[in-house]
């Protein structure tokens, strides 16, 4: 084995108490960093997900209210080839009344394709039945179904504001997660809605979800549009949420930085003491002819060993903390209060930072060791 490495190892194992103390310090620092970092990013993901997880990130509509528009093929081509877009939902919406017996309910009928259903997460939100496939099939919001006592495969009439009436077949019931939507929304195929509302091939809106929600504004401004259309994105209407998230991120980073500084100070001071404790040994090794570079490597290896062991322990401890948190902090249904992702990149980044800090902290003793003159040790006994 490399000589400075084996000396470093022996120095550490010989002073077990001291080494354990530093390792514990690093481990606690790393675990706090991992726990806080992952918790806050889990919290933010959760918040973002509730806000825009099943809502459009970008919406295109006509500048004039309630006006339909035609989708040009160049627009469509540019959307389908855009890698940043997750869903491109072409929608034909219209209001009307759903009539049953002598009751009626005001509804918003939304005609769309698979992308629209996916955007609103209909497949996983179906309470009963299936999604509309053929002409004049609909799924209805759960409250609407309750209010009108709708049952599966029942035929129901819808009257548009221009007084045309059409019979639809209820093929599914969805829970959209928001009461006001459950009360008013019904989904059908794009073709059915276009026919019913006499839109021909026109649309009322195009809704998008993007892969990185935080880039929604940039992506929105890069999308191809005709001059009669306007575009909006979720960030415009959620400025407060965004600044809240930002504040959270900043305080999370601050906590992490302070933990890091505390860890570095701790390691530096303990390693500085060890070089004093070991100066006699270093002096002897120098009298025996060890090279200065090798003498300083002893302390760098000590820093490296402490950093690596401390970080590994810290990762274990941090994951343990998160496991405990997700196990004990739960919703009534048993799911985790805040779903946390084990972000491997963040975890290894924290570990690398800690190892780097330990190395950095050992630079001072390493330099001292390199500069130590053997005669001082020999003369003073």
């Amino acid at each position: 084995m490399n000589f400075p490495f084996s000396v470093a190892k022996r120095f550490l194992t010989h002073n077990k108490g001291q080494s354990l103390l530093i390792i514990l310090g690093i481990a606690i620092g790393v675990s706090v960093q991992i726990f806080i970092g992952l918790l806050i990013s889990g919290l933010q993901d959760d918040l973002i997900n509730t806000t825009v997880g099943s809502a459009p990130h970008i919406t295109i509509s006509s500048i004039e209210q309630n006006q339909t528009f035609d989708l040009t093929s160049s627009m469509m081509n540019s959307y389908t080839s855009n890698e940043e877009l997750k869903y491109v939902a072409l929608l034909a919406d219209g209001s009307g009344f759903m009539l049953k017996d002598d009751e009626n309910a005001s509804i918003l009928l939304r005609g769309g394709g698979q992308d629209a259903f996916d955007l609103y997460q209909l497949p996983s939100r179906l309470v009963e039945g299936k999604l509309p496939v053929t002409l004049n099939e609909i799924v209805v919001g759960s409250v609407l179904a309750d209010n009108l006592n709708l049952t599966m495969n029942e035929s129901v009439d819808i009257q548009s504001v221009s007084n045309s009436t059409q019979t639809f077949k209820v093929v599914g019931i969805v829970d959209l997660g928001v009461a006001s939507l459950n009360e008013r929304w019904a989904f059908t195929t794009l073709q059915s809605a276009q026919d019913f509302f006499n839109y021909e091939d026109a649309l009322t809106s195009i809704e998008f979800q993007v892969n990185d929600v935080f880039l929604a504004d940039e992506i929105a401004s890069s999308l191809l549009l005709t001059s009669d259309l306007k575009i909006s994105n979720w960030k415009e209407s959620n400025a407060q949420l965004l600044s809240g998230l930002n504040g959270q991120s900043v305080s999370s980073i601050m906590i992490q930085v302070f933990v890091l500084v505390a860890v570095i100070l701790g390691i530096t001071s303990v390693l500085a003491i060890t070089v004093l404790q070991k100066s006699r040994q270093i002096g002897i090794l120098k009298a025996m002819g060890i090279q200065d570079s090798q003498a300083s490597l002893i302390f760098l290896f000590q820093g490296l060993l402490l950093g690596v062991i401390g970080s590994l322990l810290g990762i274990g401890l941090g994951i343990g903390l998160i496991l405990a948190f997700t196990t004990f902090a739960t919703n009534p249904d048993g799911s985790a209060l805040i779903p946390i992702q084990y972000d491997l990149r963040f975890i290894s980044f924290s570990a690398l930072i800690a190892i780097g800090s330990a190395l950095l902290a050992s630079l001072v003793p390493a330099r001292k060791s390199s500069q130590l003159s053997p005669i001082e040790v020999i003369r003073n006994g």
Binding site: F3, I290, Q291, D292
Partner: protein, 230 residues
């Protein structure tokens, strides 16, 4: 046989404001394979002389030539190599590393060259341990030894890289007279079997009298230099 060591006009002055001249134009030649002692009162400059010879300290003026090489122009790196390969030190205090065993301490001058411990090297270390009579305690930590055993470990360690010169500064200064005799006999037998040159500082008259050459210094100068007839 030629000179393994030569000092030419070596002076050493300590301090800048208040100057203490410890060595004054010191000249000395030591023959290869010889067994020498340096005596003199406390404060006469013996340790200073030995540390300068051992390149642990630098002379204010003059030249130290070891094994034909002037140490003046050597880099720190070259000096470290010289200490590792050509010189062996034994001090009044054993200066063993307390974290390591007897065997590990003895192997240390070899291992710090970052070379692999081959079976031959291990055999040499074990032989040295045998020579100094420590086979039974070779796996003891250096702290779990008697004073005499520690000093013998230090001697074996000094011999590990088969140096040309052993520099010993009062190696028996802390030991009782029986142990002193043993250590002296040990150094003598190594001198004879390995042709290692010894330069031993001692204030023990009986030790000095058993060396081949006695050099006495006072106020940084040689005042007596007697060579025994072989």
């Amino acid at each position: 046989m030629g000179n393994i060591l030569q000092l030419a006009n070596v002076s050493k002055v300590y301090g800048t404001k208040i100057k203490t001249q410890v060595l004054n134009e010191f000249n000395l030649e030591i023959e290869e394979g010889s067994f020498n002692s340096i005596i003199g009162q406390s404060g006469s400059g013996k340790s200073t002389l030995l540390n300068i010879i051992g390149t642990l300290d630098v002379p204010t003026q003059g030249e130290v030539i070891i094994n034909g090489i002037s140490t003046q122009k050597l880099t720190k790196k070259q000096l470290a190599t010289l200490r590792n390969q050509t010189l062996g030190f034994i001090f009044q205090f054993h200066y063993l590393l307390p974290e390591f065993t007897v065997l590990e301490n003895i192997l240390m001058p070899y291992r710090m060259q970052n070379k692999k411990v081959t079976p031959e090297v291990m055999e040499r270390a074990l032989h040295l341990i045998d020579v100094v009579g420590l086979s039974k305690v070779k796996n003891n930590l250096a702290t779990n030894l008697s004073g005499g055993q520690q000093q013998r470990t230090a001697i074996a360690r000094a011999l590990m890289n088969q140096p040309k010169i052993i520099l010993a500064d009062e190696p028996t200064g802390n030991l009782d007279s029986d142990t002193t005799d043993q250590i002296y006999d040990l150094m003598r037998s190594i001198n004879q079997s390995m042709n290692t040159t010894f330069l031993i500082i001692t204030h023990d008259q009986s030790v000095a009298e058993r060396t081949d050459r006695i050099i006495e210094i006072k106020d940084g100068k040689i005042i007596l230099d007697v060579q025994k007839k072989p």
